[in-house]
């Protein structure tokens, strides 16, 4: 699917559709992936998101944005949701949903935080927590399309158990097709941990990405302060600001 077709075709109004849960995949203790069937889904690009709307019996509505976790595949849309302790929407999605349940969704949305491989340059990804979700859609698309574009992911999480998609990421990195994956665990590391054990800084970014490549596009996704630190760090290393694309989410975000 061409990027232009997806973005240009979005001149149509955005409509709410009824998504049905066809598979539930536990990812970590607090994170689950929802595989949804969305009738007449127009397709999407890696990095795009959807709006989810829940309506209570009394008519009260709550709406949130969630990144799509996998590339386009017919009517199949995969969301990965982290349960937030005081969340209004995420506990319902991450804990109470059952197979066959339905909820309202609209999308795909977004054209800025999108990568489909068409610009050819190296892909430098920085993820904080569940900010890995849209980046995973890019890496899954890269793998599925047989791309050998050099790519690197630096993924920061609190503990080893909080790393989403860890087995799949390790497997993708083991394909030796030009993808490197580095983790940093900021709160607690398992015995013998060989990855980083601190918050992201300029030195770590420089080690993982090997200095600024003018052809590289960087995508940074995570909580606001994480994104600011990582994006400022990349610009400090010499990345052009326009090639550092950012997506922030807050406490009411996902």
């Amino acid at each position: 699917m061409e990027r232009a077709a997806v973005l240009g075709g979005l001149r149509a109004p955005l409509r709410w559709a009824l998504a049905e849960v066809v598979e539930l995949l536990p990812e970590t203790e607090r994170v689950v992936s929802l595989v949804l069937d969305v009738p007449d889904w127009p397709g999407h690009l890696p990095g795009q998101h959807v709006d989810v709307r829940l309506t209570a019996e009394d008519g009260y509505q709550a709406q949130r944005s969630y990144s799509i976790a996998a590339p386009a595949d017919g009517n199949r849309v995969v969301l990965t949701v982290e349960r937030l302790e005081d969340g209004e929407v995420s506990p319902f999605l991450a804990e109470y949903l059952r197979l066959g349940d339905q909820f309202e969704l609209r999308g795909p949305i977004g054209g800025y935080f999108v990568w489909d491989g068409s610009d050819g340059g190296p892909l430098h990804l920085v993820a904080g927590g569940s900010g890995v979700v849209p980046l995973m859609a890019m890496l899954r698309h890269r793998a599925a399309s047989g791309s050998t574009v050099p790519a690197a992911l630096l993924y920061s999480a609190r503990t080893h158990g909080d790393l989403i998609y860890r087995e799949e990421l390790d497997r993708l990195a083991g394909e030796e097709d030009g993808l490197r994956v580095a983790y940093t665990l900021t709160r607690e590391q398992p015995p013998g941990w060989a990855g980083y054990d601190r918050r992201i800084d300029g030195e770590m970014l420089s080690e993982v990405f090997g200095g600024p490549d003018p052809a590289a596009t960087a995508f940074v996704c995570g909580p606001t302060r994480f994104v600011e630190v990582a994006a400022d760090g990349l610009v400090g290393l010499g990345y052009e600001a326009s090639r550092v694309r950012t997506e922030r989410f807050g406490p009411s975000g996902r």
Partner: protein, 91 residues
């Protein structure tokens, strides 16, 4: 919760913007009427915890766009922008 946690960007409100403009607005280029900074809307600072959505300039912090909704109505105040550049469909 600190205010830094509430500061988002123009990616998340992409759906709300499309509802109003019927176009993918995260890649629309905005010009700040106060300082002249040109950025894609996704790059703007956004606060959406208020009863509306506020877009601010990432360079000078001026309020660029305000969107408030109530029931079946939407109020759009774009007076902080001097220009908005959209892509025509199919390009």
């Amino acid at each position: 919760m600190e205010s830094a946690d509430l500061k988002l960007d123009g990616n998340a409100p992409g759906g709300e913007l499309r509802e109003i403009f019927c176009a993918e607005m995260t890649i629309a280029r905005s010009t700040c009427a106060a300082c002249g900074a040109v950025r894609e809307m996704a790059e703007l600072t956004v606060y959406s915890h208020a009863p509306g959505t506020i877009f601010r300039c990432r360079s000078c912090e001026a309020v660029l766009v305000r969107i408030v909704r109530s029931g079946e109505r939407i109020w759009l105040d774009p007076s902080g922008l001097s220009c908005l550049e959209l892509r025509t469909p199919g390009t």
